[in-house]
Symmetry: C2
Subunit: 445 residues, 2 copies
């Protein structure tokens, strides 16, 4: 008997959760529509490497249509979901100023997370984020532009402010970014700006963390190692310190001390992507959508939420963290449970299989907690981090290029992608009012 | 006896002419200030490869400060020259909304060329250029965005217009771009958009050339080979055809035929960069600055102009063409003549030493005229083109990455950098008013 219509699965988000879900449906008897605002998947763990001139944006992004090139049942739509109607089983997608209505039989929502500023408006206004490719290119342009300004600035106070960066948040993104910027200074910018007559830049990187330790989920020994390694790089780490407020040209810390800076990087919080609100269900902490252990939403049997957006508690009553392996495994499980349903089988429950966690601090500096048993620091942890990220990176070409860039950077201490791309220049850099040279008339006189 | 002050050489432009001039001064007893609007040098012959998703922007751009990292007497200033005062021997540079006055003892102007629209305002308004890195990323985003639109467009006429590209100009840039876009269609986009339900894209690339041959300076045999190779790729070449007018959604050719398209690429003319006007000397054809065979400007003995901006006639009374080897050799000569002057020696005159010219059309398709004697076509010419461009590309890392990308593209027919970067989205793509789907209400009803 021929089926009248194949079931249609709509997946929102081509991040790690959505991509792994979509892959489960290849060659299955369903049609899949994958929706994302970008036409590419981003390897988010390396965003900070684009921001710090080590990798090109194309090396950490891979076109979605390329990933599913020969998969006849997977379609892609570039657009933004603005409405989800769980009764009619439709999503409304904004595409280039017009809109499409797409129907689904099953919906997987995997839109990831966004920066959480916890309502601090001035911090949001004056800080940089590192959540997507655009953020990382914007930050790269900004840092390099300020250095070009600093190189010719005659007022030492202003010059110091231009070359001071404050990173807030002692999680992996915060320590990776702080370490990488410090290395960019020490090995590249320091040399390149040294020959400008009459000026010597002394860049500062300050890492601010509210609690008494970096890398909260790690064992104390690794937390201490991360701190030690960051400080050995020259990063000024301030534990037990909150960010109180931010302005265009300074930040204020919890002890009311003022740090003159034009670069505040906020990596102290994330929350679920706002698309979760479209489901009209009560949300949990961090705007996450509560799900059953099958990844289906309570009372919305045809809707699954996975990854950073999903709120699910582990056996100890703790919510699963917002990390990539969990998004991947939940995406796979949601897809499998949908297929099990069509096959008349019972759904399975989520159990997290972890290979451990790791974070890198810089060249030969890292911490790794393999299988939550083996604790590695320094060179060994860094080598493990390198291998894992190369393996995880999508696409052969990207992997090979990234390997070459990393090898080259390692041998030479170089960072090749130090480009201020005009069309991506951050406007905030231009709005700094204090002139870095005397008024022209004064100088001429 | 100690010299009171070392001579100061100001060079405007970090293109091929300016860079080669600056290199002559390394370790010499002079101070050099190199000024450019960008903080990077661009390998312009490969701009079309960025526009057609084959290379990342970082692979054809190299930071100026990196090139002169350990050269203590070469400084760099990122900014735009707005005034040249040849009496006071100063240049005024706009830097981030403020300005600097820089004095010079000798000035080398090497700001290259800009697109020449010959006063056709609508063409300028609606066309894309390929003169700098920004242009190439803008064009890449545009082409990919239109394809995402076309993939879901239901009106076949509109779909065809979205996937039609008109390239104007049968010079190297025009044929390289037309060929590369056609290959991008044939080998990549064709496969990736094939699986969208109910639609089949039939992209067209039309190359329009006003005269009766492509590649004007080449011998007839190579001109014919270029035409044959382009047509074998599927490019629709229209010789003896002018572009009459352009609008948002179509172009009009000289025979009044109308081609519906949203992508017009103009590569039919260049003129000297407008900074030449700041010298207040009568300009030659193409806004070029007339120079003596020493590269010095008549009556402005401390000012040299080189490369695309310089007007100098060869022994046959023909002006030297605007090509890279001439810019390189003129930059070197201007610098040498400045040094010869300080050494009390007579200046030398420019003579062009040419290794020939070549242009690529696509995979295994090219023409080369080696030393203006040996004529190569097809695979051999293409291999020669590849080797030359790899050798010429600056910076070890870039060269190796480019080699890998090219090898990978060649083996797999792939183009890896198919990214629509949000912050570089061309606004024109959003202003297309014709909706590609029915109004939402009609569709829902």
């Amino acid at each position: 008997m021929e089926r009248q219509r194949r079931p249609r699965i709509v997946i929102i988000g081509a991040g790690f959760g959505g991509l792994h879900a979509a892959r489960q449906f290849v060659k299955e008897d369903v049609d899949v529509l994958l929706i994302d605002r970008n036409n590419f998947h981003t390897f988010t763990p390396l965003l900070y490497q684009v921001a710090t001139c080590a990798l090109d944006s194309g090396e950490i992004a891979y076109p979605v249509r390329g990933i599913f090139r020969d998969k006849a049942n997977i379609s892609f739509l570039m657009g933004e979901v603005t409405t989800i109607d769980t009764n009619a089983q439709t999503v409304r997608v904004r595409v280039n100023g017009t809109a499409r209505i797409e129907t689904y039989d099953k919906l997987i929502v995997a839109a990831g997370s966004v920066t959480n500023f916890f309502g601090m408006d001035t911090v949001q206004q004056y800080s940089f984020e590192l959540k997507d490719l655009r953020d990382s290119v914007t930050l790269r342009n900004h840092i390099l532009k300020l250095f070009e300004k600093a190189a010719w600035a005659e007022d030492p106070t202003y010059r110091q402010a231009l070359s001071t960066i404050v990173v807030v948040g002692g999680g992996p993104t915060g320590i990776e970014t702080a370490g990488a910027i410090r290395e960019l200074y020490a090995h590249v910018l320091h040399k390149e700006y040294a020959n400008t007559p009459g000026m010597q830049l002394e860049p500062r990187v300050i890492l601010v963390e509210m609690t008494d330790a970096l890398l909260r989920p790690y064992p104390p020994k690794l937390q201490a190692a991360a701190l030690r390694q960051l400080e050995s790089l020259g990063v000024d780490v301030r534990l037990n310190t909150a960010l109180k407020d931010a302005a265009k040209d300074h930040v204020i810390l919890g002890d009311d001390s003022i740090i003159p800076t034009y670069t505040l990087i906020w990596s102290a919080g994330v929350k679920a992507a706002p698309v979760g609100e479209l489901l009209n269900v009560p949300l949990q902490r961090g705007a996450r959508v509560p799900v059953k252990p099958t990844m289906a939403v309570e009372n919305l049997d045809n809707v699954y939420v996975v990854g950073d957006m999903a709120y699910l508690e582990d056996e100890n009553g703790m919510p699963y963290p917002m990390i990539i392996p969990i998004a991947q495994q939940q995406g796979i499980l949601a897809a499998k449970n949908i297929l099990r349903g069509y096959a008349g089988q019972e759904p399975e429950h989520f159990t997290y299989s972890s290979r451990g966690i790791m974070a890198t601090i810089g060249r030969s500096r890292a911490v790794a907690w393999i299988y939550h048993r083996i604790q590695l620091t320094g060179y060994l942890a860094w080598a493990a981090w390198l291998v894992l990220h190369l393996v995880e990176l999508m696409g052969f070409r990207n992997r090979l290029n990234v390997l070459i860039n990393w090898t080259w950077n390692y041998i030479t201490y170089d960072r090749s992608v130090r480009l201020i791309e005009e069309n991506t220049i951050d406007d905030r850099a231009d709005t700094i009012e204090k002139p870095e040279v005397l008024p022209v008339e004064a100088e001429v006189a």
